[in-house]
Amino acid sequence: MTYLAQFENVTKRFGDTSILHNFNFEVTSGEHVVLMGPSGSGKSTVLRILMTLEGIQDGVVYVEGEPLWHEYRNGVLKPAREAHLRRMRNGIGMLFQHFNLFPNMTVLRNVIEAPMNVQRLSRTEATERADELLERVGMSNKRDAYPLSLSGGQKQRVAIARAMAMRPKLLMFDEPTSALDPEMVGDILEVIKDLAQAYDLTMLIVTHEMGFAREVADRVCFFCDGQILEQGKPETIFTEPTEARTRQFLSRVTGAKKAKVGSEAQS
């Protein structure tokens, strides 16, 4: 079978430091995968490679069986050119920690900009699609506002609608709630859960929210030093991790959570 996304012996270096080395990883169509692991372990890098924001030095990345960072020219696999990347990016969307809404556009304009200019939808079609999505994420009433006037949680909702408007097959989230105030986190996670149920989406999510991962994830991958140290169903990984590093990490995450909740209760 072909995977929706597949890393085959991928090596990624920044200068001399190797972040991924002979990295192998697959995502099946329709699967919801959560990536966890310590800071600097390369989780974002995996997402950014799939989003074509970072190139690779060795190996091949496949999306729907087709090389992402390479293309066949005269029957030979060569580094991809911009036109190939543009075609491959079509089915992929990504959400960022800091939302990255376009501040010079209204909420509606943020959502219709790409459907109109990339997928060549008419303004009416794009607006129809945008309104439906803004409704879904609960932002209809802000469609003419500028991002400047929105809270972090509201920005991330708009960003989700904006990504969904391109009808991606694969939607990736890079710590979508880590820049939010604690009381907003739950809301955004609800929105993502709703998407996961309502649409036929493949999701790749970097998050440290374990309760959320339990509910959404088909599989949790524990990342360490550019390798997947351990992976499996969330119940298995969270309750009986086999690796010491995983146990250590999980206890630190839950510990930090408790400490945070405790300090909030005090203040």
């Binding site: 543009r86 969307g93 990255n100 501040p103 990504a163």
Partner: protein, 219 residues
């Protein structure tokens, strides 16, 4: 001699100065964007050409450039009138400084904006004009404002290639009447007044730019 009698000639010069400043500011703005975008181009040829232009026109002196256009070019068969040489020289000069402003402001826009545009598969050109440029415009405005004032002051040098601007008229009058104090005081005041007008105008442009960039609520 009455100070008022000096005014008509000086005002005639001031009008020329105003036109020269406006024309060369427009020309300079065009060159600023061309070269400022050019140095960030994916194509090495563009980068090289834009870099060379900026280096040459920032590295040498405006008066040298004006003299070169006006006195040296005719020798290789290109004769420019004072107006053309003056406006061209000022545009080329201010454009090179403006290009640095454009380059810097484009670079100052958060890279997350480019990444988001890439994730939405917007084309590089679309990303530049509809996403990056509107945001960079705000950063450009204060330094551009300084450059416009600079351009007004620099425009006085076209008098040295015999263009009848305010500085030229002042020098003429001084030669004819020897009333140096009133002539030069009035001239300084006229330049100052024009600078103040430009500052107010730039204030409006700045506010407009803040709005299109989303830095300031539109309604």
């Amino acid at each position: 001699m009455n100070w008022l009698n000096l005014l008509p000639a000086l005002l005639r010069g001031a009008e020329v100065t105003a036109w020269i400043t406006v024309a060369s500011t427009i020309g300079g703005a065009f060159l600023s964007f061309a070269a400022g975008i050019g140095v960030r181009s994916r194509f090495r040829g563009f980068r090289w050409l834009a870099g060379l232009y900026i280096q040459i026109f920032r590295g040498t002196s405006l008066l040298v450039q004006l003299f070169w256009l006006y006195f040296a070019l005719p020798i290789i068969g290109i004769s420019l009138s004072p107006v053309v040489a003056g406006v061209l020289g000022l545009s080329l000069n201010i454009g090179a400084y403006g290009a640095e402003v454009v380059r810097g402001s484009l670079a100052s826009v958060d890279t997350g904006q480019i990444e988001a545009a890439t994730a939405l598969n917007l084309s590089p050109l679309h990303t530049l004009w509809r996403v990056i440029m509107p945001q960079a415009l705000v950063e450009m405005m204060p330094p551009f404002g300084n450059l416009v004032i600079q351009n007004l002051k620099d425009s006085s040098l076209v008098s040295l290639i015999s263009l009848a601007d305010l500085a030229f008229q002042a020098d003429q009058l001084r030669n004819q009447t020897l009333e140096t104090l009133p002539i030069l005081t009035l001239t300084l005041l006229l330049y100052f007044a024009m600078a103040l007008v430009l500052m107010v105008a730039m204030r409006f442009v700045e506010r407009y730019a803040r709005r299109v960039s989303g830095r300031e609520a539109a309604r």
